[in-house]
Amino acid sequence: MQRCGPKEWGQRTTRRLRLVAPIACALALLAASGCQGSGNPEAVSSAARSFVSALEHGDGAAACRLLTADAEKSVSGATDQSCRSAITSITIHGSAVREVQVWSDAAQVHIGDGVLFLRHVDGSWQVSAAGCQAAAQGRYDCAVQA
């Protein structure tokens, strides 16, 4: 990380530059906050692969454990079936992760022929929306969503 304190500017620095440096540093810090988008894509991918694997094996209970609490409620609330039964109606072909986007505590994974949305909850990544189909203007209609 670049250091911007007064000492780093050295003795040659004029008084005017010492006034400018803190503002420039503050701007760099503000911009740096935007770099948090990198997040931890590997942890996100791993959670997505686990979810798809559970669906592939028909393990509804395992898939439901990987949902956020709100998403799990929406699955069981939308039908008369339990989450573990209803979730298996979602099919995703393939488990190759094609793209991962992580922005703070939210993520999107293009996996197989599907798209998942995840949130970072209680220290782990959980699926908040699954069975998503692209709709107009970058929006998604999801079979399961919190």
Binding site: V20, I23, A24, L27, A28, L29, L30, A31, S33, G34, C35, Q36, G37, T68, D70, Q101, W103, S104, D105, A106, A107, Q108, F117, R119, H120, V121, D122, S128, A129, C132, Q137, G138, R139, Y140, C142, Q145, A146
Partner: protein
Amino acid sequence: MKRLGLFFRDNALTLAFLALLFAALVGQSVTGMVVFNDQQATSGGQPISWPQYLTSSAFAVDVAENWQSEYLQFALYIAATTWLVQRGSSESKKPEDVGRQSDETQKIGPYADERSPRWAKVGGWRTAVYGRSLGAIMAFFFLGSLLAQSVAGRAAYNHDQLTQYEDPVSWGGYLVSADFWARALQNWQSEFLAVASMAAFAIYLRQRGSPESKLVGAPHEATAQDS
């Protein structure tokens, strides 16, 4: 101790506003965190702590969008008042002084005196640069703040996009988005209003003792340099 007292007295304006800046930033960060956590609860996210909010893109974009507009205001104001006047305003030169003025008036090169800054005396590119340095540094911080706003704003925007099950956007996509320009323009309009108000109000209204005002007894038609 006496020197410290003199330092505070001689720099009171800068120090007072830096203190106000710090206090306002603390207030903004606390209230902003409350708003952010309300939105987190609505979107199924978890609340974050104050230190986490201080380093978040949501806080950064809110700070940067205001900073860029302030520096834009001063950059434009410094440049515009070289060429544009408001007759009778303490914020303006006299109409006959429009322009960059002569070297003699500006006390540069051979017309510099002993106490003139070195770069004002030496002539050439250094005097040319120094003669534009105030506007240039404001423009530099405007562009820097705008860049910071675009980077932090994209991060905050993409977070919101994902929580609403929508695709994130590229940096270029964010630069042409309504969110970026709505943030910029809502700040710019208020800055332009403030400048226009100050230029016009200063014709007829006075603030005794303030260098931002004409003398209380100065006539309305007198500009700052007349009064």
